[in-house]
């Protein structure tokens, strides 16, 4: 019998069946927070966090970008195996389907804001912001995540720009669809997000508007020359990225 992998449908992604994986990812996210905040010019720590977030997303979003509807359901073929392997870790299996990705992305963005404000003039933090915003934006708009591992910010800009001629309007259309889709799903995972989407026409606690406001705030209050330069560059990137 298959050891770790709960053999469900052939589309099951390699890590998906492992009951412990989300815990490890979340644990790593939490335990690396202090280190990166004490090494704000070191890309490696932040790159690792981006990897963790991407991995978390990868576990809950299929290749064709539909939500993993019911993780337990997908593995119903091997539900017995699942139970055995989850023995003593039942809580973990239940947790598996309720990782609130949007919340973690938003927290990461808040964390990034905090570091940018506290330690002005570090490019690493602004690069991290781009990456996190990119993930958040794609998740929110259900756009396909480009799996360009380790690409520089610039090259991912290009690829993105080419494959999404009109992300802005695409986003609007997507928002409507998502509402309908989530209506019929029974998953806790995206409830938070659904509520947010329904609450306001656009995102109110994150998203482009929020970012522009943040940039303006930094530019109007910062006294560090590099900080101003990075904020301006980030705004340029944002404008290009959103295609506005």
């Amino acid at each position: 019998s298959t050891p770790l992998l709960c053999a469900g449908s052939p589309t099951t992604r390699s890590g998906m069946g492992h009951p412990q994986l989300p815990w490890i990812l979340l644990d790593e996210l939490s335990s690396t927070k202090y280190w990166v905040s004490m090494h704000v010019s070191d890309h490696s720590g932040f790159h690792y966090r981006q990897f963790l977030l991407k991995s978390l997303i990868g576990r809950t979003v299929n290749d064709d970008n539909t939500l993993v509807q019911n993780q337990m359901g997908n593995e119903q073929n091997s539900s017995l195996q699942t139970e055995e392997e989850c023995e003593g870790a039942e809580a973990v299996c239940v947790e598996e389907q309720s990782v609130d990705i949007p919340r973690y992305l938003e927290e990461e963005l808040d964390f990034c804001t905090d570091l940018i404000d506290t330690y002005p003039g570090h490019e690493t933090l602004w690069c991290h912001r781009r990456r996190v915003f990119y993930l958040q934006h794609h998740l929110t708009n259900r756009l396909p995540l480009l799996s360009v591992v380790g690409s520089s910010v610039d090259s991912s800009d290009e690829t993105l720009h080419n494959s999404h001629p009109n992300p802005a309007t695409g986003h609007m259309a997507q928002a409507m669809d998502v509402d309908g889709l989530n209506e019929s799903s029974s998953k806790q995972g995206y409830t938070q997000e659904t509520k947010r989407l329904k609450r306001a026409p656009m995102q109110d606690s994150f998203g482009p508007e929020m970012e522009y406001r943040f940039i303006d705030k930094v530019l109007s209050t910062c006294r560090d020359v590099d900080q101003a330069r990075f904020a301006t560059a980030y705004r340029k990137w944002l404008v290009t990225f959103l295609g506005q």
Binding site: S41, D117, T118, P120, T221, R223
Partner: protein
């Protein structure tokens, strides 16, 4: 994000006296530690020598930043940090330390003092506590961009020197640096990896 040394000095008319110093060289190669310590003392003294009374400055040397505050009464403080450590917190620390020092150590003792004769024991504690700027100074974030104090920025140690003055000469003449440190400096210089130790 690290602090390496914290020193209190006195800028007299004739010369600069080191009054008290604390350092954290734990991140350096074991065999280099005593030399690093000496160079930090040497650097701190040099910077105070070349700074005006009543001034604040930050001197950049490779990955290190030396922050100095020379008060108008001649009491001075130098913090040597890495380039991640927020400079504003360093200046807050210097203000605080010098203020406390001037209350605890009588002014009469400053012109002729030395680490052996001065009794002020708080430097090690401050150096350790301030390793995490957020623990030590909760106002860091709020204040980060509000500070109006003028701080002179020097991009290299060289910019502190007089025209024609060479760091090499100052090093070889220094009373603060031991024979080994001077030798190490010469070797490092030749290999073009000068001031790695600094």
């Amino acid at each position: 994000m690290r602090l390496y040394s914290l020193s209190v000095l006195y800028k007299g008319e004739a010369r600069v006296q080191l009054l008290k110093a604390a350092s954290d060289v734990s991140t350096f190669n074991f065999f280099q530690r005593s030399s690093v310590q000496e160079f930090m003392t040497f650097t701190s003294q040099l910077i105070v020598e070349r700074s005006e009374l009543g001034s604040r400055a930050s001197v950049k040397e490779q990955d290190y930043l030396c922050h100095v505050y020379v008060r108008s009464d001649g009491l001075a403080g130098v913090v040597i940090a890495d380039n991640e450590y927020p400079s504003r917190v360093c200046f807050t620390l210097l203000d605080k330390v010098l203020e406390e020092f001037s209350r605890q150590v009588s002014r009469a003792d400053w012109p002729s003092g030395s680490p052996a004769t001065i009794s002020y024991a708080a430097l090690d504690g401050y150096l350790s506590k301030y390793q995490n700027p957020r623990d030590a100074d909760p106002m860091t974030r709020v204040q980060a961009e509000l500070d109006e104090t003028k701080i002179i920025l020097h991009n290299t140690m060289e910019s502190l020197l007089e025209r024609g003055e060479k760091l090499d000469d100052l090093v070889s003449k220094s009373e603060v640096l031991g024979v080994q440190s001077k030798a190490f400096y010469k070797t490092a210089r030749k290999q073009n990896s000068c001031c790695e130790i600094m």
